[in-house]
Symmetry: C2
Subunit: 532 residues, 2 copies
């Protein structure tokens, strides 16, 4: 053990009193501490060492988050190399297809949103010729009206903490939206919690519901790695249930039942079941029947459902999104008593959909069926981080209540939304087509979300090459793709996949088709090199 | 154990196949499920129960956060009553002196900040007659320049996720600020992490450094309850070290040494020491000598210092703020070798100071002396919540780099800052004076932060009355104050205090002096009622 020193000169020997104690400190000629002696106890000591990984919380060490993992980190290095030396790589820019970050890839924010937020940040702007600003089209009239309502709701300034649950007026707007979305099934502001994106909601819920090693949380495989990461942080079990790729990544509740039973046999309490709908990374949209079956499992075993519904706006032609809440209410009406105790947390976010406002950190969760005490605990946990960013809360209001027919911004807004939606739809189809035309790739038809999750039937030689480099085969493919084309994706191993199968996740957010062509060319040469 | 059911009619008996199994379900006449029989196993089951508190993570149940605790919750109820029935209470509004939330209490945001943020949200505004907007004074020229630089730094839109560590250009501005603040001691953008206020930084650091029951974290008493709450969430020990009220809440490092030794004897590893400077709730500012002594303890025992320096701008005439980083560098130069392994995390926030932008959730931490591996873990943890809100990051840039002499906004900005600063200074002095003029109150002279933490020498009768109501005596005083005047404060028990002493924390942010007079009158009548 080392002891406290207060020294007055740089070398030689110093006697220093400190509190009731004193020490002899010896310095060598370069001024480094040589020895420190406790004068009374003759105890010898040195300054303590720095922390290493052995000193770190093991749960945090355990957590992995592939979306910002090794491949994206390598992409960042390449990006820096391109900045320093633009001609040094076989491509001139990185295509960040690893993360659903639309505005990084030049998706334009919706004008109505930004007009309102601009006024919220600087309401005085309206004092400086409000009519003129409206006349010149800087701000639409309905944007001014909305900003004024929101300013009133937040108590005058977006710079004040809101209540921890979120601004009441905004929670009312959310409740109205849910009621409309769910064909009149009522929602209530008391059940809405405004959060920093959906990630904060996941973090709150799992912190509360996980009791360490005794708790199990059912997660779909493949899954969004936020879930496994948060479970690792809470030292609880991820109980994987596999989605069936061949039937468009559908849910098999018989398998879920057996996962539940196995967990119970192993002394683990299955407490939560995570549903991602539309699916990330799969892009699948759940059928009403699948949702009903999931609720039946929940009712039977008292399992809380976390419904990650952040892609509810990202649904393509032919598919239909059904909210978990709406189906739950339907079941509760049709089968009295059976589903009354089901507890559902439904999450939404301003980061996805046609909003794509990732950096603004807006989101909400609706808690359905939870007891009063448990909701109070959620609120307490939220209050420890004070409140979610107030402009993000305002953005939730805008997302769930866009301009209506007759409003001044309606036509512009509708057009902007349609353009974004159609672009995504078009690129999803194109990419899907290209994948399925290529040797060794199979890709399910995308129904929603922002991703494709194609299966790579990799040649044995490629698998061997990966093993030599101590990589998983899908990681090897993604890294090769990145180094050759600058396209950054995430290996399927980051999301989970059936053992022995390999996938990758790519967004279809990057504009143009040039990058798709480059991918095609890379893929062909990769297979030419490694074909068995 | 209950089992899965899919029913097709509302009462009677139904046989339903589900997967490979089947059940008999009996309904009573009101449609409620009466019995459910597994057809083969004859097992009887019912829908499972809802979660109760017994199903919740005990660490979360354990966490307390007094700043939004019982007294503020009662204040919210009274607020609602005032809205419903304005004449029903002996006051017409709530004075929220419980939380440092300046803009809730009508502190005006700095114009320069808001002009820049307004442009960041809606850059197109500049296309609609930029010269005219500048000419009319809607936006100052330097606000436009700053917004354009920031837009470039964030990659074009505040709606895109930034890197998890934060926007590089903004981290550069922070590093320059720290270098200036610390008399030229260099800081580096690699060491800066942009966070959602300081709360997120505390949460990251304690999550990483706490390894459950084996870990102890030294916290000052009284403390900001975020620390005990976060420690409870991480199931680690709070190791209290008491600040000495009589000497202006000074730090006693001998006591810290003995807390460390006692912890070690009890098998607890003292891993972190929290310093809040300027102090919350005490308002004290640490001397250079105190800081030096703290670093000596840190060097000796390998204890990480978390320096909560969010009130560094809130320092009143006569006191001087010395950053922990500056003193550490001084020690490292003066005593080679001894302090080289010290690890310091310094936190700052846009919520306090003259910015007061609580709702915008901006902040940063600087990590000094941590190993590369540990910093990578911090980054991984930050990446799981993706990034802090980008407009909050921009606000950090504005806070640490306000307009300089010669800039178009300089004079206005300086004046706005001065006004806020002087107002706070004036009200702190006034409140301090009033407290010390009252029977049974002792209050240390405020040097910094936004709070006073007066000591209440409560009469025995008041203590008895509190006991009858199952309250702590300070809670009883605060509740009585609230019910009589609408002034909402936080009892000292929420922050910790020497056993047998009673305090409360109040901000001095509310404008005017009317509320102070009302407090005075209340206090006198309270003592008249309970005087021994």
């Amino acid at each position: 053990m080392v002891s406290s020193v207060l020294v007055g000169q740089r070398f030689g020997t110093v006697l220093r009193a400190y509190g009731k104690r004193s020490w002899l400190i010896r310095f060598n000629s370069s001024g480094k501490v040589h020895h420190v002696h406790h004068k009374n106890a003759r105890q010898q000591f040195y300054p303590a060492e720095k922390l290493g990984l052995r000193d770190i919380n093991e749960n945090v060490l355990e957590a992995k988050y592939a979306v910002r993992g090794t491949i994206p980190m390598r992409a960042e290095e390449l990006q820096q190399q391109l900045r320093r030396d633009p001609g040094s790589l076989p491509f001139s820019s990185i295509v960040s297809a690893n993360i659903g970050n639309p505005q990084q890839l030049n998706q334009k924010p919706l004008s109505f949103y930004r007009q309102v937020l601009s006024i919220l940040q600087h309401p005085e702007i309206l004092n400086q010729g409000r009519e003129e600003l409206v006349e010149k089209g800087v701000f639409a009239k309905d944007a001014v009206r909305r900003a004024e309502r929101l300013l009133k709701d937040v108590g005058g300034s977006v710079g004040a903490y809101s209540s921890s649950q979120g601004v009441l007026g905004i929670r009312k707007t959310v409740a109205e939206f849910i009621t409309r979305r769910d064909a009149g099934e009522p929602a209530y502001p008391e059940d809405i919690y405004l959060t920093a994106g959906a990630s904060a909601a996941v973090s709150y819920l799992l912190s509360i519901l996980c009791k360490g090693r005794e708790t199990g949380v059912l997660i779909p495989i493949p899954q969004y790695p936020l879930y496994t990461a948060t479970l690792a942080l809470n030292n609880s079990h991820a109980l994987p249930y596999y989605l069936d790729e061949q039937s468009g990544w559908s849910v098999n509740t018989e398998e879920i039942e057996s996962v539940v039973e196995e967990a119970v046999e192993n002394g683990i309490k299955p407490t939560v079941l995570v549903v991602i709908n539309p699916g990330n990374p799969t892009g699948a949209v759940l059928s009403v029947e699948a949702i009903e079956q999931i609720f039946t499992v929940a009712a039977k075993h008292g399992i809380v459902i976390i419904a990650d519904e952040v892609y509810q706006e990202n649904v393509f032609s032919g598919a239909e999104f059904h909210s978990m809440k709406k189906i739950l209410r339907k079941l509760q009406k049709e089968h009295q008593g059976i589903y009354d105790n089901v507890q559902l947390a439904s999450l939404h976010s301003t980061s996805k959909g046609v909003s794509g406002e990732c950096g603004q950190r807006g989101g909400y969760m609706e808690l359905v069926g939870f007891s009063y005490e448990v909701r109070q605990v959620v609120l307490k946990l939220a209050s420890i981080s004070l409140c979610s960013v107030v402009t993000g809360q305002a953005l939730v209001d805008l997302m769930v209540s866009p301009p209506k027919p007759g409003d001044e911004s309606y036509e512009t807004d509708r057009l902007e939304r349609e353009t974004i939606h159609n672009e995504l739809d078009r690129r999803a189809s194109l990419l899907h087509e290209v994948f399925n035309s290529l040797e060794g790739i199979e890709c399910q038809k995308p129904q929603g979300a922002m991703y494709l999750f194609p299966k790579l039937n990799l040649p044995y030689k490629a698998v061997q090459a990966a093993q030599h480099l101590d990589m998983t085969p899908d990681e090897f493919y993604c890294l090769s793709l990145l180094e050759a084309t600058g396209i950054c994706t995430v290996p399927g191993s980051g999301f989970g996949q059936e053992p022995g199968t390999y996938h990758l996740r790519t967004t279809f957010l990057a504009s143009g088709v040039e990058w798709i062509k480059k991918w095609e060319a890379f893929h062909k040469s990769f297979y030419d090199k490694y074909r068995d």
